[in-house]
Every structure is written in structure tokens, then in C-alpha cells.
Subunit: 443 residues, 2 copies
């Protein structure tokens, strides 16, 4: 469909000032959004001068009971009917998943309809294509809810900080894993016990893989890095390591050394280019992210002029996420009411991506060793030969075995891995029990 040809009709609908919403997905976020659009309509109208009317909702199962009022004909199991419905002037996608969400959003944009989505997975993989489609159509594509749930972070990054030279964005962007790690750190719980508790409380899914593997956080890291640095970083460019191998022992060593272990999204710009990664990291206890507990999320931004900013709040949940979606809906409607082609908020320029192997970090390495003379010298050589210098060593003997903890200075990921591989070849090294990267004092 041709955007220019369809636009006058859309503008006419918008001009009534009651804006027809087509909703794709009616789960936790979608349901909360419908209830808010109905229940808060007077308050929204008073604050913004806009009224909204949900005209079509695309769902998988027409028969399921809903937690909002359903009028005759409101629900459909054909999502393209939602997008193409004549009086739907704005499409909200909260169904999740890459397919068919991507094609639905493209169809909406091509029909000249603004789109609001909470779909981190889709934006992190097809962002530039979707943003280009929105630019061609001259309508907004907004996705504040894709990162940080109810925390306003996309708009601050892409608008308020558009003129800032950002160096680094650190995020605790997955509530499930932060809840699990908080339980492990504060209650001494094992990973399995903490995961079970999270599942009990509804903080973790029955299949927790997407959260605990770091995949969910990786999609968010890709979006944060792309917006912060203006160079596209796709989810496939993000190194992701999960929390499944963390132990209560390492959590307690971390505390002893003045750190706490968090699953962190790290987006960086250096002279060599930009990068994004997700992995467990030891964070100094006095860092603002160290105090983000339970299912909370936070994003910490470092820039030349603004020094550092912290945004913290609920990173998930139907109601907070619906707030972010609703803010975008209001913004998109307001901008589209003007009737003109909307200039894009985000542009990406080509730039270098730093391969993960070249990323500089410090490592905490816990080894089980036979406590014999000379073992420390061998281990030190293992690090030294790989070009990794040791910052501190801590040893605790139990009978003739010893726990040996080495914290390194900053070195490239590849060198650190080479050092670990060589340690594994030392006879006295019973086990490289754990390896955790250390944040803080930068390279």
C-alpha cells in the first residue's frame, strides 16, 4: 500500500481527536493497556487533549476469558484485520516474538499508521529495516517499553541525550535474573533454589531460558547500544553469557571483596568502535547499580558532559510496561495529529563494532588446586604467558587442597581465555571452578 495515498484518510480519522487503536496481543501488557485506555480516559483527555478508542484487538484464542470488557466484534484472530481495519489509526504491538509481529508492523507503517511496540526481540533484530519503513511513511515508530519496562530510557537516550557524547551504558535490564542473584547474594541461596523461588513468585517463567541465558538482556543491550552510540548494534553482535553457572560460594567471595554479582548489559564506545555484551559481573558495592535489588531494573549512563545518570524502576510487569506503551501512544498520536510527515528521531551511521575477543575486562578466577610448593608460580606463569597481569591473589587451604582466587588487571577477552586454557593444563589445578568478569575501575 502507498503511504502517501492512504495518509489523508488517516489524518481525517485523527482529526476527530478520538484516535482508533488497533491492538495486537492481549496478554498482561495488552490487557493492562485496554483497562487504562478505558478507565483513565478522562484523566488522559484532561492532560493531553486526546481520546482513544480501541477498535480491534488481535488475539490467539477468541474464547479465553479477558480481564477487560469485550464488546461484540472487538476481538479477532486475524492480526492483519487489526492492522488494516479502516478506523484503526494507530497500531500497538504487544504480542511479542519476531513473527508475524515484524510483518504486521511493516504493513501498518506502509499503510501510514503510527506503530507503538514493546517488542525488544524484533527491534533488536530488524530495527533499521522497521525504522526505515517508518521514515518512508513519515509516521512514528516508538518502542519505549522494549527496554526497562516502566523506566523511561529510550526517549531520554534518543532525544534528551541526542547531543551528548555517550561513552558507556550499563544496565540491569532483566528482572528475573536480578531477583535470582539478589536471593543468592542476600540469602545464600543456591542458583536452583533461587530460580525455584522466582518461579514460585511469578518472576520467572516455567522455561526460564530466555532470561537466565542472557538472551533477553542481549536484545535490550543491542537497543541501548544502538541508541546511545548512533551505530546499529544488532542482537547477533551482542555476546551473551547467562547466570546458570554462578554459585553461592562466589557470591560470598564477591561480598568479602566488596563486590556484588549482577547480570549486566555493558555497552561501550572506545577509540576502536562500539560494542555491547551481557554477562555476570562483579560490581563494586559503592556503584549505583550495586543497590538495585530484586526484580528492579536500572540503567547507568556515562557521558562526557553529563558525567553519569541513573534511571531505576520496575523493569517488567503489565502495569509499568503499559505506562510506557501508553506514553508512546500519546506521543505518536500528538505528533501525527499535526498531519505532517514526521521526521525520524533516530538515525544510524556506519561505525566499527569491536569483536568480543578484543574487549578489555578484569577477571575473577576461582581455582581448586593441590596445595604444593610452586603451584602459584605455575599459575602466575599461565597468566603472564598470555599477557594477563595479576592484580591480587587470595588463598585458603583446606587439608592439602586450596581455593585460590586470582583477580587480574584489565586484558583482552582472548588473552584471558588463553590464560584460563593454560591453567587447565597444570597438573596441580584440580578445577577452574569459576570465572566472573569484574567491572569498576575501567581498563
Amino acid at each position: 500500500m502507498n503511504a502517501a495515498a492512504s495518509k489523508p484518510a488517516i489524518v481525517a480519522v485523527l482529526m476527530e481527536r478520538s484516535i482508533g487503536i488497533g491492538l495486537l496481543g492481549a496478554g498482561t501488557v495488552g490487557g493492562a493497556l485496554v483497562r487504562r485506555l478505558v478507565g483513565e480516559s478522562d484523566a488522559i483527555a484532561a492532560k493531553t487533549g486526546l481520546t482513544f478508542d480501541v477498535r480491534r484487538i488481535g488475539v490467539n484464542d477468541l474464547e479465553r476469558e479477558r480481564d477487560f470488557e469485550v464488546t461484540e466484534g472487538l476481538l479477532t484472530d486475524d492480526p492483519f484485520e487489526v492492522v488494516n481495519y479502516p478506523t484503526v489509526a494507530l497500531v500497538v504491538e504487544v504480542m511479542g516474538g519476531k513473527d508475524p509481529a515484524g510483518d504486521l508492523i511493516l504493513a501498518a507503517l506502509e499503510a501510514g499508521k503510527p506503530v507503538v511496540t514493546a517488542n525488544k526481540e524484533l527491534i533488536a533484530s530488524r530495527g533499521p529495516e522497521l525504522i526505515a519503513a517508518a521514515e518512508r511513511a513519515g509516521v512514528p515508530l516508538l518502542f519505549e517499553a522494549a527496554v526497562g519496562g516502566g523506566i523511561p530510557i529510550i526517549r531520554p537516550l534518543s532525544e534528551t541525550l541526542a547531543g551528548e557524547r555517550l561513552d558507556r551504558v550499563l544496565g540491569i535490564v532483566n528482572g528475573t535474573t536480578n531477583y535470582i542473584l539478589t536471593q543468592m547474594a542476600e540469602e545464600g541461596a543456591s542458583y536452583a533454589a533461587a530460580l525455584a523461588a522466582a518461579q514460585e513468585l511469578g518472576y520467572a517463567e516455567t522455561d526460564p531460558t530466555a532470561d537466565v541465558s542472557g538472551a533477553d538482556a542481549a536484545a535490550k543491550a543491542a537497543i541501548l547500544a544502538s541508541l546511545a552510540f548512533g551505530t546499529w548494534v544488532g542482537v547477533e553482535d551482542v555476546y551473551a553469557e547467562g547466570i546458570e553457572d554462578l554459585t553461592a560460594v562466589d557470591m560470598s567471595f564477591a561480598a568479602e571483596f566488596g563486590y556484588v554479582v549482577k547480570l549486566v548489559a555493558v555497552c561501550e564506545r572506545t577509540a576502536d568502535g562500539v560494542s555491547a555484551r551481557v554477562h555476570p559481573a562483579m560490581i563494586p558495592l559503592d556503584h549505583p547499580l550495586a543497590s538495585i535489588r530484586g526484580a528492579m531494573n536500572a540503567v547507568f549512563i556515562e557521558g562526557v558532559a553529563i558525567e553519569s545518570l541513573l534511571f531505576a524502576g520496575p523493569g517488567a510487569g503489565g502495569e509499568p510496561t503499559a505506562t510506557a506503551v501508553l506514553g508512546d501512544v500519546i506521543d505518536a498520536a500528538r505528533e501525527t495529529l499535526a498531519g505532517a510527515q514526521v521526521a525520524p528521531r533516530i538515525r544510524f551511521s556506519p561505525g566499527d563494532l569491536v569483536p568480543f575477543a578484543d574487549i578489555q575486562t578484569r577477571w575473577y578466577v576461582r581455582l581448586q588446586v593441590d596445595d604444593r610448593p610452586g603451584v602459584l608460580a605455575q599459575i602466575a606463569s599461565g597468566f603472564g604467558d598470555a599477557g594477563v597481569s595479576i592484580r591480587s591473589v587470595w588463598q585458603e587451604g583446606v587439608d592439602d587442597e586450596a581455593a585460590l582466587i586470582v583477580v587480574t588487571h584489565s586484558a583482552p577477552e582472548a588473552s584471558q581465555r588463553e590464560a584460563i586454557a593454560s591453567l587447565r593444563k597444570i597438573d596441580e589445578v584440580i578445577e577452574v571452578a569459576s570465572v566472573i568478569r569484574v567491572l569498576g575501575t575501567n581498563p
Copy 2:
């Protein structure tokens, strides 16, 4: 001047995509802005597709040395020349003060030129008039830098959270006083010594009145409350009490009881209406605002759906504030490029303001008393007769004088004041040494 008539010319200028900026004021923020617009122009163009050109700068003193390059004819001491200059398409006001800034902004808006300002004092006193003028002209009036310096807070409040029912906004919005209070709390410094240190470091002006009296924070509280609740709260509606009477003794009592004293802007909505006030308050040590130290600022937002959000960062300084101004400049330019009338982002509806006398708070009261039998009973009656119930009492005798500390339950300001007045009439009460409101567990 007629907005509609002047608009085509402006649009034509904007269409070149090099946007002419007229700058009012070239102090710390203005200077930083000019340096950024020049030095970062490639980065800004890459990220936003926009280029900017500073065409006229209004200054008080043409002869003063500048920390940016000044081409022939760039400076003028006639601010209206800046606003009316033909190729100035966007006006940035960072001169401060109500006059003539207000008339200059009105003139710019009436000429159909978007305006970006950092002027909290002006917005807090003439906000509705200026916003209405922007609405008539169909151009943006943005003021992200007016509150929280480099912290993005205006746009999140007025846009991302537009669909949220906010209950309370708490802010540490003055860096000077937070620096002084941090020194007092952590170093045991007296108010006078901490103020002198702040002046030494450039955190406080030679005449610190606007900061230490709470007047600066009151203007910011007015803006935060107005945006959060959608009902206009002017600076004249904000009760303001400064930090001049705080003592190191009370800081140390606060710490002993698990609190820290901060100058807090409190914006609330209750069933009775909305309110905003600024005063020193004891904050529980586990509250996120308690950890905001030194010249940092932070805003803590509570809402029905989003639960709570924290925004923290540098609240002042030329560079961070210039980042916020620059974000607004980019946003205003992007929106205006579309060429259409811009719908306003903020609307105010009538609503009730709760008088300060009716505001419910808890009080910490420190008394010097003669340590005679029956004195506590008299004091308890003083509170009881005023309808204020006591939560806890703490007494420490020194010879036959005693320090008596009373923490009350929540009661209206008027009742608390009545209680204090009655205490002053008790013979054994040597002095009501200090009175500090206590935040936390709400009414």
C-alpha cells in the same frame, strides 16, 4: 506579529536543514552550548540529520572575553535583535531571570519561532501564559534544563508518563544545598563551615540566598508538580523553607535514628488536591534519595502503575545543562521541520491546591528542658491538645537540663505549629531548638 504570516519564512529557513539559532545569554550554559554546537556538529548531524548555526548571541557585555569563537557581528547587546533576526529560526534562552526573558520568549513565540529555555524561575511563574503562546503559534516551547540540570526529567514526566496516575514526586533538586547537607552529615561540619566550603568549591554563590532559602528548589517543585499532576502549581503556591537553621547536632540525631536530612521538594496528590512544598526533611536511610550525595540531584516518582522510578545525575553545571538544552534544540528542530502546527505536549486542567496548613507530615522536635518531674507530661499535653499524637520520645540529661526529642505521628501542619506554639509557653521548656519534618511512612 502574526504567527501564521511569519511561519512560511521560518519553514523555508528550516528546510535548508541548517537551522539558525539565536542565543540569549552566553554564561556557563550558553558558552558550553555554543562550543558543543560547533565542536560536536558532525556527531549531531550523523545522529539527527540536523545541522545548526548560531546566528546571533545576546549578551550584557560586548567586551568580555568568551570561551568560544566569536565572529564579527555575532554578539549583540540588544536581545530583541536576537529574537527578530531574520535567519534565526529557533531561540535559546539561557540568560535567566524573569525580565526581560519572559517578553523575549513571548516575542519569539509570536514570531512563530520555537523556544528552548532553561529558565525555571520564569516557567514556574509564567508557565501557562508562555505555554498558551506556544500553542497559539503552533511551535514547541521546551524546558528540559529548567529542572534537574542534565537529568532528563521534564520529558519523561510530561511525555513518557503522560498516561500514568502519579501520586507523589520527591526531588533533591538543588545541588548547592545537597552539597552543604552532605558535608554537615558526613563531616559533622556546621552550616556556616559547610557553606564556606561550598563557596570555595564554586558550588555556592557569594550570595547563596536563592539556594539556601529553598527559593530555587521551590521554582523546580512548582514545575514538577504542574507536569506530574496536570494542574498548574505556580511558584507562589509552593511553601519554601531553607536549610539555614539546620545544625550538626540534628544531623547526628538523624543518623542515630536511621535518617538523613535533605532539602526535599515534595509534590503530592491526595483526594483533597495537589500541593508542592520545599523544606528540610528527615529521610530514612534505606530510601533511594538518602544515597544522593554532594552536588548530585535526583527525582523519585511514585505512581499507581509504575510503582516508583528514580532519576539521578548532575543537577547543575554548564556542560550537563547544555546537554539538556541541546536535546531540546534537536527535538524542537526535528518537530518544526515537519512544517505543521505542533500540538502542545502539556495541558493543565483546573484542580484544587491543598493549602500548606492542611498538609500532613510527621515532625521531629528537639527541645531543651529543665529536667523536672512532670515536664514530659506537660509536653505530651501540648501535643495532645493540638491533636498531634506522639510516636516516640527520647531524652538525654545533662546536669539538670535535658535534651528531649519528640517524633510525632502524622498531623496537619497547622496542628503541628499549634503544638509547637503551646510548648513555647511551658516554663520548663528552655528552647524549642529545632523542628524538622520527617518523610517516609506516609500519613
